[in-house]
């Protein structure tokens, strides 16, 4: 056969397709602020709530093109345990803000699989 698709010098494709460019973070919320999280869409609107979710679940710690962010200073900005990032402050809207840390190698048990997580520490809806 002269028109075969088989090329013996061409390597086979990687099983499972291309690896994802970025890990997707699982999102945890501090129980004291769980109800605040549940109110996010009602408080700030679906687009802003979704932008916040997209930011923390895909690229936490990086500047956001749509929201003001900064790292908290002093004791409030320090990692809460080994492996955690510093505390990031994200202004969802002028009336809503959240603080979070992330961990790229989080394990729920010592023999568990490490996976990336974001922990939302606080959410507040007060105006400045």
């Amino acid at each position: 056969m002269t028109n075969s698709a088989y090329d013996p010098l061409r390597p086979a494709r990687r099983p499972g397709g291309k690896p994802e460019a970025r890990p997707v973070y699982r999102v945890l919320v501090h129980k004291r602020f769980k109800r605040h999280y549940e109110q996010l869409v009602a408080r700030v609107g679906a687009p802003q709530a979704q932008q916040f979710w997209d930011h923390i679940s895909t690229n936490p710690g990086e500047p956001s093109p749509v929201a003001a962010t900064c790292i908290l200073r002093g004791r409030a900005g320090r990692p809460q345990d080994e492996g955690w990032s510093r505390t990031y402050h994200y202004e969802i809207t002028s009336m809503a803000r959240a603080d979070y840390q992330f961990n790229d190698q989080y394990k729920t048990a010592t023999d568990g699989d490490p996976h990336p997580v974001v922990a939302i520490l606080t959410i507040d809806y007060s105006s400045h």
């Binding site: 129980k31 602020f33 002093g74 409030a76 603080d99 922990a119 507040d124």
Partner: protein, 169 residues
């Protein structure tokens, strides 16, 4: 050598005067001998910012040297720092010093603005007792719950939700 313009030059050499100002500084000798300068507003803002924060830095450094948390009266216009403790205050003084050096070298307000904004935000987050407790506590996995993307379901308790957090759980 810098050109010193005369008051009459504001009419006769207006473009040249404005070009000098735009380039950084235009000097003018008034009829009574007073020396006046015109500079870009951004440069004025930078000079004012350096002067203000250098002065506040000196004052704060002196307060921190006493080894006790300054009172609100001592802090004066920096009273927004009252939510911090002495260690935080020392860290602020160090970072402010660094920001002043960089702002001065770069002729830019940005390092100072960013430093002060981050510390103001931190102080504001620590004002609320529950936020303070969570932010300054260690990580305990039992304190957290996994959540999915936010949904539009409205909780019937929305109106009763306090701004700072839920303290009775």
């Amino acid at each position: 050598m810098d050109t010193i313009f005369q008051a009459t030059d504001l009419v006769q050499r207006r473009v040249e005067f404005l070009d000098a100002a735009r380039a950084g500084c235009a000097r003018l000798r008034d009829k009574d001998g007073t020396s006046l300068v015109m500079i870009p507003e951004s440069r004025l803002r930078w000079l004012q910012s350096i002067a203000k924060w250098a002065s506040l830095h000196l004052r704060l450094e002196e307060l921190v040297r006493r080894g006790v948390m300054p009172s609100v009266t001592d802090l004066g216009e920096l009273a927004w720092l009252r939510a911090l403790n002495l260690d935080d205050l020392r860290e602020f003084v160090e970072e402010l010093h660094e920001a002043l050096v960089i702002a001065s070298a770069d002729e830019s307000c940005v390092p100072l603005d960013e430093c002060v904004r981050a510390w103001r935000t931190t102080a504001r987050q620590l004002e609320d007792s529950l936020r303070r407790q969570v932010l300054l506590g260690g990580h305990d996995p039992d304190d957290f719950e996994e959540v999915g993307p936010p949904t539009g379901e409205v909780d019937e308790d929305l109106e009763r939700l306090p701004a700072g957090g839920i303290s009775d759980q």
